[in-house]
Symmetry: D2
């Protein structure tokens, strides 16, 4: 079983990413269960705006990233919080994944996102995680991903803007165990759907 983590931080490599640091907690827990992970820091790649799977501009790297997404049964969307919302990088990826709505598997005509599961990792210096999770999971459910119960974790500091970050906080425990639970639930649900998959949609 394979997982892919789309890190939607705004900061290009090699700047440290708080979002990646919390995602790594989930990926480590996946690894303990035998799940191999691929990680893409999306901001390091050129992803053109659009809602199709094919390249829409010179140098558009989405088609290659999409292949990596489709190689994984488990998707982790990891995003910072800005103005209480998912990053523009997360939105860009979801827009490109919108094309999956009408893409089906050759063998059984199920949408290609069916029988895949997704979870969310959110960091921020300010409040917004629950909403970020609802936005990301709402979009993914629409595309066809299944979201297992409690398949997310988050961290942010208390009220108001500020400088404190996941990488420098002392209060990590809840976010870590919550992330470990998310990993367990993602693996269990992915295995359950592999053994007993969703059928093709009702005929339109």
């Amino acid at each position: 079983m394979k997982a892919i983590c789309l890190n939607c931080t705004l900061k290009p490599s090699p700047a440290p990413s708080n979002t990646q640091a919390l995602a790594d907690v989930v990926l480590a827990a996946l690894c303990e269960q035998g799940v191999e992970s691929d990680v893409v820091r999306l901001v390091d790649h050129r992803i053109a705006p659009g809602v199709v799977s094919e390249a829409v501009a010179d140098g558009d790297e989405w088609p290659t990233i999409r292949e990596r997404v489709l190689a994984a049964e488990i998707l982790i969307m990891a995003t910072p919080t800005w103005l209480g919302q998912p990053s523009s990088i997360a939105k860009r990826a979801l827009e490109r994944m919108d094309a999956m709505l009408s893409e089906t598997r050759a063998d059984d005509e199920t949408p290609i996102a069916y029988n895949r599961v997704a979870g969310v990792v959110v960091t921020g210096n300010e409040d917004g995680a629950h909403h970020v999770i609802s936005e990301v999971t709402g979009a993914l459910i629409d595309i066809g991903y299944t979201i297992p119960g409690q398949a997310w974790t988050y961290w942010n500091k208390g009220p108001g803007p500020g400088d404190e970050e996941w990488l420098t906080t002392d209060e990590r425990e809840w976010s870590i165990t919550t992330g470990q639970t998310a990993a367990q639930n993602l693996v269990a649900a992915a295995k359950a759907l592999w053994a007993s998959p969703l059928p093709p949609p009702a005929a339109q």
Copy 2:
């Protein structure tokens, strides 16, 4: 396998409910797969404001409704759209279900919502369904429910407020087949999790 539909219309019986009418499409499709459904029109019952499972006021009927919710592996939240958002009745039920966050099964210590699945049915005279779905599923994932891919359907009329309703429209086809797909996905995911359940959460 059992389903429960919480109809969150604002209109008490016996007024016709557009929301129930679209929910019935999903319930009929569940029935074809052998799933027996219970339906509660919440507005006909007294549900006191609160975030606990026990009665919080004289005549509070939540404890009885909660038993009916827990008797079902599949939950259908069916709600109208007001100001682009779920109804206050839907919010009331979700608040009471918030208590499930800390309630576990006696046998294996999993949260009581684990290994249950949920879907959403939305009607409205105006735009808002995608957001209503994100709000409802976001809350249910937090509690522990699993949301299968494309486990929802909706109907509303075009732009602007107006009188047209699901029960009087001629353009029902997309909402019906989408609802049938939702039913299929709910049953398949519920069976998958029954055969291969989520484990207890990581130790805090």
Copy 3:
């Protein structure tokens, strides 16, 4: 100039309300600017589900509360956060206010919410304030209220559920000064619109 605060806590009187306690910061700042405040703790009143201004059930107190809302140029919606969302009590009030969409002043045919301003106060033991603010202001803008810049304040504790509350925290400073700014902006915008009001809507 008058203000009304709709306290949307789930807890009936005389239980202490964290939401009221933070709202009182805003109301005190309004008072310093000569604005008299009325406060309604909505859960203490019977407000039937519905989307009209008239009473929809025996003992429905909405018509009286609506009169108090209309007596004020400034509205403060004060709500706790449950599952990252506004309370069901807040939703109930907004649904009843939905009727204002089609209600106009006798003298100039402007919608009755025009030239009124609104702000938001949010408390919670967990993350969600920015989203709660967006939900409440989104609904009020639809009805016709104007939302001045930064006309809100909030408080919640750090990540994860827990017992800490506004009334027991030591870290109040940011929420207090932010609430004082909200009060200033509400008064300034209300005065500005009083002197130079919005015109009647374009003819449909």
Copy 4:
């Protein structure tokens, strides 16, 4: 008085933009009231990911666009709807505007967004406009913009995905008059705040 319209379509010029076409209704109504409009189709420009006002990459055009935003008292955010949410282009612009939170005018120390007003134009082939409006206005209120009552318009087709667009629909009337009302309210509120502005924030 000046307005700026940020068109957040995903389609680069010279492709026709439905979003621009509906925004033009609002801009025409602004023009009738003597407001001059500037329009930026953001996708035609390179805007690097980030949350500061300065250029963050070679060729980053945000600093120039920001100057155009600051030259206008009225901001129109015009965005398509994808997966029920604002476009990634809209999110990108809002993230860069996040920097305005801590930027103040030299003369009176008010945040630079104070006493500016904003409205929203939304198109989509599917449901989502109310939520898009709440997301965009929620972010702008946080930054300091004032949102006048009913300062938005939208159009989308009925339930389900599809090809119909604003530019090809016959049912434009409600969206047009609603857009004209939005223009009136933006001008009236901008004039009101110019005559009677918000004061500097309370001291932290």
